[in-house]
Amino acid sequence: MHGQYFSSNSPLTRRSVLLGGAAVLGGAALAPALSGCAAAGAGETTYPLKFWHLLSGGDGIVMAGMVDAANEANPEFFASQTVLAWGTPYYTKLAMASVGGRAPDVAIMHASRLPGYAPGGLLDPWDTDLLAEFGVTEQDFPPRVWEKGVVDGKLYSVALDAHPFILMYNTDVAEKAGALGPDGQLVEITSPEQFLDVASAMQAVTGKHGLSYGYLGDGAQMWRLFYTFYKQLGAEMVLENGKEAQVDEEAAVTALSFIQQLLDDTIATKSGDYATAVAEFVNGESGMFFTGVWELPTAKNSGIPFDAQPIPTLFGTPAAYADSHAFVLPHQSAPDENKRREVYRFVSELFKGSIDWAGAGHIPGYLPVVESDEYSELIPQAHYASAADVLNYDPSAWFTGSGSDFQTYFAENVQGVFLGGDDPAEGIRGFVRRLNVLLAKPNPVAKG
């Protein structure tokens, strides 16, 4: 191992990290001894793998369980996970670690962020032959999900899942509001007016709010709901470097105006943040909840009676905002081939164990899991699995994707609209102006 700077090599366990710290305390002289400890153990080698991700809450718990299971079943590696703050902080750190050359061995990225990482050499491509050796091939994934990971003909990310924005609803509240169909599921809602009616009816039942949705200071949340409605209106958003952004202003204004109608402090709170919205729904203080599939465990743990479905098609075209958690290899200047091999083994293990990931709400990317009987018995997952057919990733550009500045810029221009004061048209124009500024600049991750 390369221990030229003390303890920059990966320690095996927490204990050896402490030991490493102690070694440093005792002086750099001990560093060579320390570097040997990764390979300690009689005969066989356990490769310590550093695994970064940005999953917390329900997701984090499930991921921790999957990692533990994989570690237990495979003496060849020991993966230790590090959770970083979701969004910009995570991606900034991932990029900085990658250019620094001592990046973690494997990380999870949103597939939508790939255009900002792969072309700039921040990621190392996956070796598809080696993946196949561990039983992970192109045929095992929905084509669109697999293709999202390919940049310039090379595979840079392999998607663990697809996670759309969906609608959860409290079945008790829905029943009392007369909004349940004969099948015990929410009636089909096909127009904005109908949605407002249902939400109002639910508000009358709960006495607090009809709908929970939190977005304050959270560009991602704003963008998810907006983009869902925007795509339902059949609109496109095309972002090409060196050209003006193509945004359908009329559709955008329609979507934003509808959101303003929802956030009237009766149907939904005007200024809810993410945590408040979750708390409100799981405490039965609202009937419906716009949220990502990842909040499924929270809802389940709360014990409230609820079901879920794709966000109703209110504007004609079925569509849902979605993204994928995908495995990537952050760039390392001197990767250890044997260790890399164990990364492949580790990732393949997580794919095969991703029925647990479906338990966390996500729709697994690995088809053998989705097609299993076990998966079809998962409720309410099966009720919203159809959202996978209408997935919409962020428009592709180096600056878009989950937790990107793109969403921050969206928030900067549109939060005032959500809060109710600002004019939707002004908000969206400000956003487009911002996009045009970005598109006019040279792409910093382009080669050459």
Binding site: Y5, V17, L18, G20, K50, M96, A97, G101, R102
Partner: protein
């Protein structure tokens, strides 16, 4: 110039407690009662965030996140949050990294700055004036302006994500050179002359005569540098990505719980991270206050 210092021996700690020291003051006139009330209100406001953090950290997560907001804990007070935080294992590693890096930074800074300050004060070498001018002028450079080129430089040195990358750039402290030089200037030169007559060389004089005389200023500078290094955020945050190399402030900000936002644990972590310096402060209140006051104006 932005560096101007206080009368070196600012008598902060040596106050005249309890005794009304302004002439003609009655012990408890109406004015003093009002002043006392204002003081109490201010002190309570200033202690409030600590108290709220402490109470939160002693609650169960359920109570910490419950409405209505209350100082009481229906489920009782517990050390659970602390146990959970410590069981995660990161805090001790970060504390060790903080202690280690801050100590090395302090030693290197004080050593290099003291040597240089002595040379500027006593040794008439060629180029002294312009070099001293450059050093003093550089005080105006905000370290924040250097982050981009410094990171680039660390990439070239292959020092991103290493202790060296963390420590070395923090060792440069021109204001400390200035403060120490001013102090050395005041030491009567006659004290050194005797030793020179005896043929002692400069290093020996510095070590055996100047340094012992400079203990107060050296400890003041050390305290200031150490607190600065211990709490420094921007540079450590930029240069360290590897969680096992992070310092307390950086780790606390960067690494999140896999189990979501947990208010009691957050406050427990914050208090654990705050504890070392606060405990040291309780023991060395006088020295620290004096150190800060004497060095403060130079240290920005």
């Amino acid at each position: 110039m932005t560096t101007v210092e206080l009368p070196p021996e600012a008598r902060v700690a040596e106050s005249r407690p309890q005794v009304p020291h302004r002439p003609g003051e009655k012990r408890f006139g109406a004015g003093r009662v009002i002043a006392l009330i204002i003081l109490i209100v201010m002190a309570v406001s200033w202690l409030l965030p600590f108290a709220w953090a402490l109470v939160t950290s002693l609650k169960t997560e359920a109570d910490a996140g419950a409405t209505p907001v209350s100082w009481l804990a229906p489920h009782g007070y517990t050390l659970e949050a602390y146990a959970n935080v410590l069981a995660e294992g990161n805090i001790p590693i970060w504390a060790l990294n903080s202690l280690l890096s801050s100590t090395i930074i302090t030693i290197l800074t004080v050593a290099t700055c003291a040597l240089a300050a002595y040379a500027f004060s006593r040794l008439d070498f060629t180029g002294r004036r312009w070099l001293f001018f450059v050093v003093i002028a550089s005080i105006i450079i905000p370290p924040q302006v250097l982050i981009i080129p410094l990171f680039y430089e660390m990439l070239a040195f292959n020092m991103v994500d290493t202790y060296w990358g963390l420590i070395l750039p923090q060792v440069v402290a021109p204001p400390m050179v200035f403060i120490l030089k001013k102090f050395f200037d005041q030491i009567p030169i006659e004290l050194e002359d005797a030793a020179r007559v005896d043929g002692a060389n400069r290093l020996r004089i510095f070590w055996t005569i100047v340094l012992p005389l400079s203990r107060p200023i050296l400890s003041a500078v050390s305290i200031f540098v150490f607190i600065g290094a211990w709490n420094n955020f921007l540079w450590p945050f930029i240069i360290i990505n590897d969680t096992s190399l992070m310092t307390l402030p950086v780790g606390l900000q960067t690494v999140k719980s896999a189990y979501g936002v947990q208010y009691a644990q957050n406050m427990a972590m914050a208090l654990l991270a705050a504890a070392p310096l606060i405990i040291i402060f309780l023991f060395f209140q006088r020295q620290i206050i004096k150190g800060i006051a004497t060095t403060g104006f130079g240290g920005q």
